[in-house]
Symmetry: C2
Subunit: 470 residues, 2 copies
């Protein structure tokens, strides 16, 4: 990058908020996604919305790519600067701007850590439900940009269900405000929802107003083991058919259970094929009733063992199995690729079976766990990026997994985003007309394509796999 | 319209699905909004998505305006064909396409009446919560296009919170599918949310997949009367501050109470300044507890009388007061203009007081009722369109009401939409950059501006009123 242009940025944010040494640039050349890396030209840490507006005006004038980045926990290479340019950090923009108990909202800067928001409002008996597994390190700005999900999605929805208003800077430097503290607002197109999940490709989000709800008074947890995937999946369907919507309804397959037990030694049964973890919250009587009924439904559908946690510490222990799943699996091989193919919940058993068949076909280790109640599975491929032949097989297997998910009425990504990694597959889900329309929306925001270019839209769509239907 | 072009449309939908007599055209020249009228050139009743695709291709080629219309209960002149062209009806597209108890979804055609959907799913102990006051006559397609609210919005949200997937025809005739039965989907931009509330200006929606939730088992209703607006408003804030989120929390001012009592003679107290109606649903114990606590809070904040309904029939009687409010008021003068200025709920008392001041300033009768819990008020101006001098004062008063709502952090429309009526005020809410951005989105969908032209965006923005702040 031209030294004169760098000086323009230094003039805006100050010398100490510009990183440009090779070591510093390397630190921002990758995110949590395996096998994607590219060096930025410059890393900037602005201090407020106005500085971001000034930065964007320069980027727009000189057509410099700009990639907003939270903690880089993205799993679809969404924050890798694959066309160079600027990485925009929010380390100076991590404060609470407003906490409004009358309207039940909190307004924060994008750099605030998600778990810190949850902890802050819980002290006031309020609740911000979206809980991506990365919440202890991820920023709320990243969550909003990716429309992050989490374990509590079944009952409480995902990030977009809680974003009520945004301040955002358009690529031309204009500052817009969308929505507000209002419960209802239909003044023009819903720009808030369009920006949520737009993966940093439309504008830079600089303030976020979140809806809060009363903190549920009680919660309870139980687990059940099964000798077959079908039994576990049928239990999930039967629970919903009984009109119970638990907070979480998580699934672990045998490979995941084995890995967790080897890692943590918490006493899980390893002679089973699947495990479900149930959690319910709310009024004590209702919670007890729902947990009891869910456990009964599990037993009726073949669960060989079930257990209701006696207290919060036992509940935490049971939930640990799910929380450490990814860490436990990632110990087994040098590279972990965590996917998020999602299907309607009625198709979970079919989806898990097909993933196992695909793993066998390509001779790969794929463990599956995830949010069964949402149909949001995490097939996790354990591999080694240094083995190019194996990585080729991984790529083919993932393509088949996307294809199967779509054939079951699902999607290529339930909560991780498209990023660079899944861009070649987006057309499989939304069709050519959908891609053209989305490109039109992108151009309306960002005619010079400076905002996180090379994400969501691929140069070339992958050919669809021809599946042998079983 | 050229006879040859009319013949092209006849070839698509068949002779009997084309209306073109003056009497027929007159019937579709207005909607529920006072003072707006314009004749269409043709009224078409297509039978399926493919016919709509063919119709749009012709409209796009010959640049013929096309206005999708449900039951015409719109209150912002959103379905008045102010540039002529085609009115598109959905009277042949009013069926349930799919009812999926495993995934808790129902997929319907846009012409289905909202209340019919509610009644259908309630038989299966499922619940579609959005309940606009017009639900017995409004179509779900209209509700989706307007992102309709309703009385249950406080606890359950609005239409957009329940739309999971859409089939839509773009102006170029391309058919797209957005979302699906999935609980989570982040594949590309959220086109579903963008189409919800787009007022027929982007695409024609032809299939709608709605999320359902379990039907709450119990509900209870209570009322409270107050001698001052402040006391009623403080009660609303205090209820939320006590972490109670009731299903409905409705407000009626003295003028509305008087009109209702004159109309229905149901025994309301008319020597009071305001009335609140509370409803809660859920588990019996929780419902009883919440209703009791809300009533206590009302009394603590000055309610002179409160009453918990003893049974469902008494509850219905209490709720009738709110349901008939508009009908009761509309009997008083020849023309009723129902507005939906919305503020954060903490600003309700201030907003109601300012509305009363504005009414006095312009010597108008404005009664106010509405969804207090949402901050969504319905100032209702009772007037006579034949009196041009009075109508001029009405217009000035409404402008001031919009201005005050915005100054309190509110919006120009909470649930009715912008349509033609509020288009001159949209810029007040979203700013010039917001308008330009929205116009860019519109152009990405509809470059020839055939979809419901002249709505949302005005030729000219009204100058903002200079308010004398009190």
């Amino acid at each position: 990058m031209d030294q004169q242009i760098i000086q323009l940025f230094i003039n805006i944010v100050g010398e100490k908020n510009v990183k440009q040494s090779t070591a510093q640039l390397l630190a921002y050349s990758y995110d949590a996604t395996a096998n994607f890396q590219a060096l930025p030209d410059l890393v900037l840490s602005p201090r407020n919305t106005e500085e971001i507006s000034e930065i964007l005006k320069i980027c727009n004038e000189y057509k410099i790519p700009i990639v907003p980045r939270g903690s880089g926990s993205n799993l679809a290479a969404g924050t890798v600067p694959n066309q160079g340019g600027i990485i925009l950090l929010f380390n100076h923009m991590n404060q609470i701007i407003d906490f409004d108990k009358e309207n039940l909202t909190i307004t924060v800067q994008p750099g605030m850590i998600t778990a810190d928001i949850c902890n802050f409002v819980e002290k006031e008996n309020l609740f911000y439900p979206p809980d991506p597994s990365s919440m202890k390190i991820s920023t709320i700005g990243g969550n909003v940009s990716e429309n992050s999900g989490g374990l509590r999605g079944l009952k409480y929805g995902v990030t977009k269900d809680y974003v009520k208003g945004l301040t955002a800077v358009l690529p031309n430097g204009e500052i817009i405000k969308t929505g507000g503290k209002l419960a209802k607002d239909v003044a023009g197109y819903d720009l808030t929802s369009l920006l949520v999940g737009s993966e940093g490709t439309l504008a830079v989000i600089t303030e976020i107003t979140l809806k809060l709800i009363p903190l549920p008074k009680y919660k309870m947890t139980s687990i059940a083991y099964f000798q077959s995937l079908e039994e576990a999946a049928k239990t999930v369907s039967a629970i919903i058919a009984h009109k119970i919507i638990p907070v979480t309804l998580e699934f672990l397959d045998k490979k995941t259970i084995d890995a967790v037990e080897q890692f943590m030694n918490i006493g899980l049964s390893t002679d089973v094929e699947a495990m479900l973890i149930f959690e319910q919250d709310g009024d004590l009587k209702q919670v007890e009733q729902d947990i009891k009924l869910m456990t009964e439904i599990a037993v009726k559908h073949g669960a060989t063992f079930s257990k209701i946690a006696n207290d919060e510490s036992e509940a935490e222990q049971l939930k640990t199995a799910r929380r450490v799943a990814l860490s436990a699996l990632s110990r087994l091989r040098p590279t972990t690729i965590l996917e998020d193919a999602t299907v309607p919940r009625s198709a979970i058993a079919e989806m898990v079976r097909r993933i196992d068949e695909i793993a066998e076909k390509y001779q790969l280790t794929i463990a599956t766990f995830g949010h069964a109640g949402d149909g949001n599975l995490h097939p996790t491929c354990l591999t080694d990026v240094r083995d190019q032949e194996e990585i080729k097989r991984v790529e083919l297997a993932l393509e088949e997994i996307f294809e199967v998910a779509l054939s079951l009425g699902g999607t290529i990504t339930g909560e991780h985003g498209v990023g660079e990694m899944k861009a070649p597959y987006l057309e499989w889900k939304v069709g050519e007309a959908g891609i053209q329309l989305m490109k039109g929306l992108k151009a309306a925001f960002d005619p010079n394509n400076i905002m996180n270019p090379g994400k969501i839209f691929a140069k070339e769509t992958k050919k669809r796999v021809v599946l042998q239907h079983v």
